[in-house]
Amino acid sequence: MQTIELQKVASQVRRDILRQVHGCQSGHPGGSLGCTDLLVELYFNSMNLKTDASGKVEFHMDGLHEDVFFLSNGHISPLLYSVLARRGYFSVAELASFRKLNTRLQGHPTPHEHLEGIRIASGSLGQGLSVAIGVAQAKKLNGDASIVYCLMGDGEQNEGQVWEAAMYAPHHNVNNLIAFIDENGQQIDGPTEKVMNNLDLEAKYKVFGWQVLRVDGNDMAALTAIIQKAKGLLVNNKPVMVIMKTEMGAGVDFMMHSHKWHGVAPNDDQLATALGQLEETLGDY
């Protein structure tokens, strides 16, 4: 898909995120908006997904012989749900049920409700990279050459398990894994540098044995290019970590440059203002 087409999808996904969070007056719009461009790029361009003869995506839990994605920072669930629905895994109408009683779209993603596209529960932070590595190793045992992708938050780098996984993957030459860190510099209690300073993530992952790239995570063309570059680096027999600078709340002017919108829903007026900044390209649900 061309960059311009991906940007149109991203605009609709951002509308979906805001409307989901507004609909239940709960959820995490800031990080969801910030990572929208990456998930749209992956699901609508770079990832090879299993489809039927008509081109419709099919969901198989084992993800064999297709690229798979794991969201470790599960609180940006409205983004994942919108992208999965827009890609065809389930009906976009179901987005209206987000975080409501009896929904498959739980506050944080889970396979417990059998939602197509979800393979693991996430929300309690720090666990997704380990799971992604396990899937990557299963792919190698299965002789499956496809790629595993994973996204973590920068606040999530506080979790010790992340560093257990960071140590493990290069040691075991996991060369079918491309992970991303959403470096938006914010976490619940404030800027990451004040809450718990990650210092130089690039240097840290390099000394752990990863190949590290950097990208502007809100530049669609740059994302497409960096993912291609990351795929190329896997021949070196080591995993790739892409540190992705994003703007929390990207696409909505009053949600940017602050951690205030990490876990706050817009009211009716704020929603109207925000939607006015985002073109409805694919039709609202």
Binding site: M61, D62, G63, L64, T110, P111, H112, R119, I120, A121, S122, G123, S124, G126, Q127, G128, L129, S130, V131, A132, I133, G134, V135, A136, Q137, A138, K139, L141, N142, G160, Q161, E164, A165, M167, Y168, H171, H172
Partner: protein
């Protein structure tokens, strides 16, 4: 008179190792992970036979649980192995979210459960693991009693689809169950018939329950002994049938009384067949360093303790 006999004593962890050796040759979907305790878990034969299906995680148990969940997504049957303390309590949230809530086909297989780990002391002697694991929705909890049963249980859980906690231990104990038995998850095993008291035991306490029944028989008391190797799902039909006959209960386990097998039995009986019950287990305390047999005696986890509790339970029945 001996109600059961044995020729050898072996450790249950070696039964696990033998089960894994069998699976290395007979189930190509089984993979093993270990957090730097290959020797303690008796995984050498598995690794020799199937090196590509073994994953050394280093001393990083949280990552090991996540890796196992991931391997199960890819269609494998992972056995995540370490000491029971590090494989349950240390990584409870990882098991809860990535395995149990996610419904993954992961086997958490842990050695050195309970006091019989011995000299390393309370930091390593988990007595809460059955409770932690049985509280997780969908988790199967198994504590086999000897080498043969642990081997059979290992093979059986590999064929079962869903999360399992398999618990075993370090000391050598009598091997008295049949070689090459078929292990049926959730099926209690009736060992000794009796009409005066039901003794429900799990793990290392099953042999002690047999000895207790022999001592009780000398006193003219007929104890029924049932091996509850599967704590969850609990074989409530077997428990109900036995208690309906005997009218009182002793539960016996190498675990805290809080949250253990006895708790599960009491909950069932309170709802369905209220019955006097006595508990053989650790009473809200940590363990300590010492020889396994000395620890079991100090904390009241042996045949004599079961005898004492049986007499007490029978007295309460008559009161």
């Amino acid at each position: 008179m001996a109600l059961f006999t044995y020729e050898t004593k072996k450790d249950t962890r070696s039964g696990f190792g033998a089960g894994m050796e069998y699976l290395s040759l007979n189930n190509p979907k089984v993979v093993a992970l270990c957090a730097d305790l290959i020797g303690s878990l008796k995984l050498e034969a598995f690794i020799k036979n199937a090196p590509e299906r073994f994953f050394q995680t280093g001393i990083a148990e949280a990552n090991m649980i996540g890796l196992a969940a991931g391997l199960s997504i890819g269609g494998y049957v992972p056995f995540a192995t370490t000491f029971a303390n590090f494989g349950t309590g240390r990584v409870y949230d990882q098991i809860r979210q990535s395995v149990a809530y996610s419904g993954k086909n992961v086997k958490i297989a842990c050695s050195h459960a309970g006091l019989t780990l011995g000299e390393d002391g309370a930091t390593h002697q988990i007595l809460e693991d059955i409770g932690l694991m049985k509280m997780l929705p969908g988790m199967v909890v198994i504590n086999p009693c000897d080498y043969n049963q642990t081997k059979a249980a290992t093979i059986a859980v590999a064929a079962y689809e869903g999360p399992v906690y398999l618990r075993f231990g370090r000391p050598v104990v009598p091997v008295f169950t049949p070689d090459n038995q078929i292990f049926e998850i959730g099926k209690a095993l009736h060992l000794i018939d009796g009409s005066d008291v039901s003794i429900f035991a799990t793990g290392h306490l099953v042999w002690e329950a047999i000895i207790a029944a022999e001592i009780l028989l000398e006193k003219g008391i007929h104890a029924e002994v049932i091996n509850i190797h599967t704590i969850k799902p609990l074989d409530t039909a077997a428990i109900h049938a036995s208690v309906a006959k005997t009218g009182c209960v002793v539960s016996a386990e190498e675990h805290q009384i809080n949250g253990g097998l006895g708790d599960s039995i009491a909950q069932y009986l309170a709802l369905n067949l209220p019955t006097p019950q006595e508990f053989v287990g650790v009473n809200d305390s940590f363990g300590e360093s010492g020889k396994p047999a000395d620890l079991m005696e100090k904390y009241g986890l042996n045949a004599q303790s079961i005898v004492d509790k049986a007499i007490k339970a029978i007295a309460r029945k008559k009161a």
